[in-house]
């Protein structure tokens, strides 16, 4: 899995006591936006066969942003591949360092590390909160999640939220 928000979400759900399957479902739902990025990129990259198989792994927020910001297709392709390669290397290097570091850290809570994921999610969501609709959706989602939380198994409130977004978003246009 190489798509940051999904990876954080999987850890966030499991860390909050949710089942790993609920974590997996949340991660996959968060990853659906990458399909829309692929749609934007497919005409720019024009990749087929094995190159498409490789390019798919790199379709994330950052590579899409870098690729569509360029004016000519050659620069777009260059930006996409270079951003992808650099991020893939450094991201996984950072993950490895983090995994090794937990073995020498005494108490994650004393360092406030349990407060790090929500702060990270906040930084991830901030650029998406432009306009009234996303802000309303975000507040509504937070309230619904907390309202369901005492009554259902951990992880399930997220699926309720996803279902509601589906119902609201996919309703026939008036």
């Amino acid at each position: 899995m190489f798509t940051g928000a999904s990876q954080f979400a999987f850890v966030g759900v499991v860390g909050a006591g949710g089942s790993a399957w609920a974590g997996a479902a949340t991660a996959v739902l968060l990853g659906t936006r990458n399909a829309l990025y692929g749609l934007r990129l497919s005409s720019l990259l024009n990749v087929r066969g094995l190159r498409r198989v490789a390019a798919s792994h790199f379709v994330i927020d950052e590579t899409t942003a870098m690729a569509i910001a360029r004016d000519d297709p050659a620069a777009s392709r260059f930006a996409f591949w270079v951003t992808g390669l650099i991020l893939l290397s450094l991201w996984n290097l950072g993950t490895l360092i983090g995994a090794l570091a937990t073995q020498v850290l005494p108490d994650p809570k004393a360092l406030g590390l349990d407060a790090a994921p929500p702060a990270a999610f906040l930084a991830l969501i901030a650029p998406r909160l432009r306009g009234r609709e996303p802000i309303a959706i975000a507040l509504g989602a937070a309230i619904v999640a907390l309202a369901f939380l005492p009554f259902v198994p951990p992880g399930v409130p997220l699926l309720v939220v996803a279902l509601l977004v589906g119902v609201i978003g996919l309703r026939p246009a008036r």
Binding site: G38, L124, A141, L158, V161, G166
Partner: protein, 99 residues
């Protein structure tokens, strides 16, 4: 067992990306898909923030993490870099617990 769900999610996340590069354009260009898919990350991230900040298991709680979220929020409003936001949140929770 955590590896099976992790593996399934990883494969699914990859196939989503592959589908974006492979599916006929008109499927993903459906206005309802275009409207709904960008809302999913907003809603799910907001729900995750609420759950990870204000609950332990099945209980709603208000503790050091609320202060951490407030500080992270201020950092975001000040357009602080990602690492500053995350470290600021963690440091705040650690400090509040020390007091």
């Amino acid at each position: 067992m955590i590896w099976a769900p992790l593996l399934v999610a990883s494969v699914a996340c990859y196939l989503i990306k592959l589908s974006g590069l492979s599916l006929p354009q008109r499927f993903l260009e459906d206005p309802r898909i275009q409207r709904t898919v960008p809302l999913l990350p907003v809603a799910l991230l907001a729900a995750l923030i609420a759950i990870n900040s204000f609950s332990t298991g099945n209980h709603l709680v208000l503790d050091a993490r609320a202060a951490a979220l407030a500080v992270a929020g201020i950092a975001v409003l000040l357009r602080a870099p990602f690492l500053v936001v995350v470290a600021g949140g963690a440091a705040t929770a650690a400090l509040v617990r020390l007091l």
